[in-house]
Symmetry: C2
Subunit: 289 residues, 2 copies
């Protein structure tokens, strides 16, 4: 299913990625030597090879509904900080016990386990500080920012991403109750992806129908992203459990990812040309599988 993404799409994603990385650089800057070891470790975990799919989806969604300027950038960066924290904690020996991440030693290998716990805690807390800080010249109503912050906290929390990690921890493979696998699945990665899209839309418009439409796209893309991730895991390491694939089989997994992406794209039809980038990103996600 792999194909080369459209050059324009790659360029657009690169531009957004650069904006996000510049914002992250700024957020993770310190001149205080007493903070430097922790901040170094945080930078180590955040900067580098990330795809930045969550912040890109946030910015693309913001622009798709007519948002302009840098109002969504801190939110996009905060979403990446939350993603990075989840990886740092996930790699810990008491969790997934992964020694490498993005081709380099995991934070707990490079800086020690205690430091890795604090790096994750620091990134998560910093994400909320960033979300609560208005960008310079911001004209967004605080109530709207607060709503975005609340929904991100929910998506990252015990009914969202953390519920997915509990499922992982309990080595849930293919339980008798298929609804349980879908529950865990929707939360592990899907919740944060979905809220990334929703947040961009919420920041960019006040129109409930539009926000709901983008929210639905986010839900579908989030589920598809998780299934694609499972397919890649299964292809790389077929001996390890990759829940959706083990449960439903590779053929059905691919079909389901295609259906979800197709539904996601179709929902953007009313946006016309404004929805193009989000449609292309949806295809890009599917093309990874």
């Amino acid at each position: 299913m792999s194909k080369t993404p459209d050059a324009t799409l790659v360029e657009q994603m690169d531009v957004m990625r650069s904006r996000v990385e510049a914002a992250l650089e700024e957020i993770l800057r310190t001149e205080d030597p007493r903070e430097s070891r922790l901040v170094d470790a945080m930078r180590y975990s955040v900067m580098g090879d990330g795809k930045r799919i969550r912040p890109i989806l946030c910015l693309a969604s913001y622009e798709a509904v007519g948002g302009r300027g840098n109002e969504a950038l801190p939110v996009a960066a905060a979403l990446e900080l939350i993603h990075a924290y989840s990886l740092v904690h996930d790699d810990l020996p008491c969790m997934d016990d992964d020694d490498t991440r993005r081709g380099k030693p995991a934070v707990h290998k490079a800086y020690g386990e205690g430091m890795a716990v604090l790096v994750g805690d620091g990134l998560l807390t910093l994400a909320f500080e960033v979300l609560a800080t208005a960008p310079e010249g911001s004209s967004l109503p605080p109530a709207r920012k607060m709503q975005v912050l609340k929904n991100i906290a929910r998506a990252a929390g015990i009914r969202g991403m953390i519920a997915g990690q509990v499922g992982d921890l309990e080595a849930l493979e293919c339980p008798g109750d298929a609804s349980l696998i879908d529950y865990v699945h929707a939360r592990k990665t899907g919740a944060l992806i979905a809220v990334s899209v929703w947040s961009g839309a919420r920041l960019g418009t006040d129109e409930p129908g539009m926000i709901a439409r983008l929210g639905q796209y986010g839900e579908n893309v989030g589920l598809a992203f998780q299934i694609v991730d499972d397919i890649l895991d299964y292809t790389d390491r077929p001996d390890e459990a990759a829940s959706y694939v083990v449960c439903h089989g590779l053929v059905r997994a691919r079909e389901r990812a295609e259906e979800l992406i197709s539904t996601a794209k179709a929902g953007l039809d009313p946006l016309g040309e404004n929805g193009r980038l989000l449609r292309d990103i949806a295809d890009f996600i599917l093309a990874q599988a």
Copy 2:
């Protein structure tokens, strides 16, 4: 220095503690069996024997500046969630490696290490969700709530509580540079105590002078609390490093705590009778040593 606290103070603190615990019960309620193991572990870590000093300071500060009703209660509860998360992560084998907490097995002993990481992550994330959720019938301006949330994130973050934990982790005992020990000290416990007081005041009034006055009280009480904590640690386990005591000696530690509490109380003189509870709590903190 130990003395029996005034009966009225005990009663007032008990009433506030009950309000906070009822709020925490409500926040940590779940009917979804798929969430129950995680939420059980979160309740295990939060409910029980806590002194609830942070939420009590928040509520007392709110009322001292004229705040009435339940507007500060979710913030008070969120502060306790943040405190609880810090204890759960702090007890992990890769951190302080404590097997018991408040007379019962630490979360990582009762539920496993991986679960303890997720419990801490869940409590921290939930704290921000609670902070971002307006209580029913709330008339607080969102901008004010956002300012409170931001300052709490800062106090809990890499320039606050987490900086203190990094200092702990690096087994900092008595470095040549005394300003470093004070830096770590002020952050480890002091920052969250101080912001608890500040938040209560900020929620209860718009008067900058009053907020600054209460903020100063919070800084002093926060530092004193940490020194008292070090004195208690030193008394219980003189073989383990208790940084302030090891650095400055027991006599100077007690003197310093007394000075800080005295300054904290004096700063509340202009509040007259409205400052009484906060003055009594300051004495209560000192009386523990």
